[in-house]
């Protein structure tokens, strides 16, 4: 973001207030200047001295400021995304990307929103990749969960152990390892090991055994959450109470209470201590439980 300097020295409070909208920030000590950020949303405004580097978007050369992410570099070059862009924060898996460097044989992979551009990067994003997915009813798993996995995703058991998936994963998940855990029947291990998966499909695009790792892992996580993790008894109890309408009256009364009185109740409510053990601390006033 570009910046302009405004008046030096400490500004009267009112003035700072008036400028707060445009994100004025006041420096401390030596600087003692008001600095006004340009409000640009997500449009990149590179600093004046930014070094420009060549990158190759689908083979076409563009000059972009270094330190941008691949996603912002592609937008900086003038592209408007339809596919290949989602949360822009590394969690949705929309921006799976392959790249190589000029003169380097090695194929690399990453998320466009999380990978920083570098000189000579040749980039292509994967707009979509077909994956195999089985239809199932999670509530109706008859057999032993491991057998169910074998029935729905037999290809998992044909993993050749090459490790390309693990090397390709932009979330640093040891994909091959969770596949091995699945084969062994350690579904808890596989569920936890695959937990950070953003389902971008990069592993699947590279698998020589044609496994769709991320869909199999999705199934295993739900199996684990539903059939292996112990149920929360206090939740079951509260579920019943709510279903029976236990709180209808209490809540109805609150909605009819004057704002002044609600405000009083709000201020007077007890706060559970931070370090209290779950399920052990109880409030003094138990009337509304």
């Amino acid at each position: 973001m570009a910046k302009t300097t405004a008046k030096p020295k400490v500004t009267p409070k009112a003035k700072v207030r008036a400028k707060a909208n445009t994100k004025v920030k006041v420096a401390k000590k030596t600087a003692k200047k008001l600095i006004k950020s340009v409000a640009s949303g997500d449009t990149t405004i590179p600093p004046k001295d930014a070094k420009m580097i060549p990158i190759y978007i689908m083979g076409k050369e563009y000059e972009v400021p270094e330190t941008l992410t691949v996603m912002k570099a592609i937008e900086y070059s003038g592209y408007q995304y339809t596919r290949g862009c989602g949360c822009r924060g590394g969690i949705c898996g929309a921006c799976a990307t392959f790249y190589r460097f000029v003169g380097d044989y090695k194929l690399r992979a990453g998320l466009a929103c999380q990978t920083v551009v570098a000189e000579g990067m040749i980039i292509v994003q994967v707009p979509f990749f077909p994956a195999n997915r089985s239809v199932y009813d999670i509530a109706d798993i008859d057999g032993e969960p491991h057998e169910e996995l074998r029935r729905l995703y037999p290809e998992v058991f044909k993993c050749v152990g090459c490790g390309t998936c693990t090397r390709t994963c932009p979330m640093d998940i040891d994909v091959m390892d969770y596949i091995a855990l699945m084969k062994r029947g350690d579904l808890k291990g596989a569920a936890h090991k695959s937990f950070d998966c953003v389902m971008c499909g990069l592993c699947t695009s590279r698998c020589p055994a044609q496994i769709s790792q991320f869909t199999a892992a999705m199934f295993v996580r739900r199996l684990y959450g539903k059939h292996i993790l112990p149920k929360a008894e206090h939740l079951e109890a509260r579920f019943k109470e709510v279903s029976e309408g236990k709180y209808n009256k209490i809540l109805k009364k609150l909605t009819k209470t004057s704002q002044k009185d609600v405000q009083k109740l709000y201020v007077e409510r007890e706060r559970e201590p931070d370090m209290a053990k779950p399920g052990e601390w109880m409030p003094k006033d138990k009337r509304q439980l």
Partner: protein, 548 residues
Amino acid sequence: MSGYTDEFKKLIKKVEATRAERIEIARKGEHFPALTMDERKRWLDDYHPDYKPDGRRKVLVGPNKGDILPEEVAAVLESKSRLDIKTVNLDNADYETDVLVIGGGGAGTAAALAASNEGQKVILSTKLRHGDSNTVMAEGGIQCADQEADSPYFHYLDVIGGGHFSNSPELVAAMTNDAPLIIHWLEEMGMMLDKLPDGRMKVRHGGGTSRKRMHSAGDMTGAEIMRVVRDESLNRQDSIKVLEFSPAVELLTDKAGTVVGAVLYNLETKEYYVVKAKSVIMATGGFGRLHIQGFPTTNHYGATADGIVMAYRAGVKLQDLDSTQYHPTGAIFPEQNVGLLITEKVRGLGAQLLNIEGEQFCFPLEPRDIESSCIIRECLDKQLGIPTPTGRYGVWLDSPMIDILHGEGTVRKELPAKYIQFKRYDIDISKVPMLVYPTLHYQNGGLAIDDSASTGVKGLFAAGEVSGGVHGRNRLMGNSLLDILVFGRRAGLNAAKAAKKTKKFGVPTLNHIDKVHKELKKAGVKNPMTGPTLLPDYAPEHVQLRRW
């Protein structure tokens, strides 16, 4: 910690110097005093961007004509349709369905599942991929009063107090009452909720909570919820049809103004599709990508207020749309992470906010708008912010406290995604603090709904961030994931009930658009933009200038 400059390293020493004492006090269960109700009000008036007159104006048309709204919002509400009414052919429907859900995030998908449970055929149309939404980005958790010491009563008080008593009471009652039903539903679907070995839910505090009721799935709670509900909808292919990259661009109404379908736009083939439906659910999310007051945002790429625009044209009233949530802790360094959300869970786990002297200046778990005001005050007014090399300012978020308080490895275990995102730039947040500043996070207001998720315009329901009233003028952490699922399900159920009662499809028209265009002309709106926005354009100036 090589990701930090030498200047930062020196300043971090000050943080480390005060840490031992702060830890000792935290272990005693004592904390920095929270603001009084009176101080809260003053802090908001003086420092919160929502409370300033700049960048706002009267909206000139529609049901909320005369309301003062942010410039960016007023402009889309005064936009013209992208459809040329004269050439649109509504005679033949491309799709007919019981329930049309517009939006493929958490609210839309929950709605689709609920309608499918009622035996209704559902079409879910979404602008990007199914699941591309703010839901996936919600990290910290979902609130639910399911512990013995808690009840919907206390949850209600927390929500309405956090919202400064501006929330719609009936919506708060609905949300807090349904919360245990929602968590139970998620558990039943096999969501990997964080639990203790005996199955008890792991819960913690969030900003403004009186009880520990924040449920989580690592620091990917929203992503895990989205994965599970999407996966479940994929198991219902006989009743739920998903149309990706096909945003709705206009609702269809019959002669009486009842919503009877929508026009979708295939972003790739540039065709329009006519969908006839017995009920329609709007679940398009919020407006972060309109960049209110130029703020960067934590929101996903599609958050462009499309549903607000379409529903407003069909006559739905808006509530509190002038209220924007700035999340107190957006990353402000390194530059690549600027705007990135740092979940409130970090503070829930005990990390404190510190100024350049390494000293606390606020209770770390105030409601979000108060917390943001505290940080802005510390940087702007008290000038105790930490400058970054790119001219920004922030305060420290002392994440290393978490491992000290809860045991080595807690940061990695409880905040895996954040850990990776900083590790990438050589910053180990379990060892060194992060630099943060408020960032545009959430649309507090939206379409007015009642507790059955009805918009008041017949045939149209709404759920999630697109709607308003639930959180009033300020939302607490962990109530958005709850909101989308509670009202998503209520919308799905009630839309299905309404669809069952509707024997025949309505005759679709665009009469309401004709009216809107006439009103624009009458109000003297010159050169209205075309709406809804659909996709943001981040091409820099040098490219835009060459688009002759």
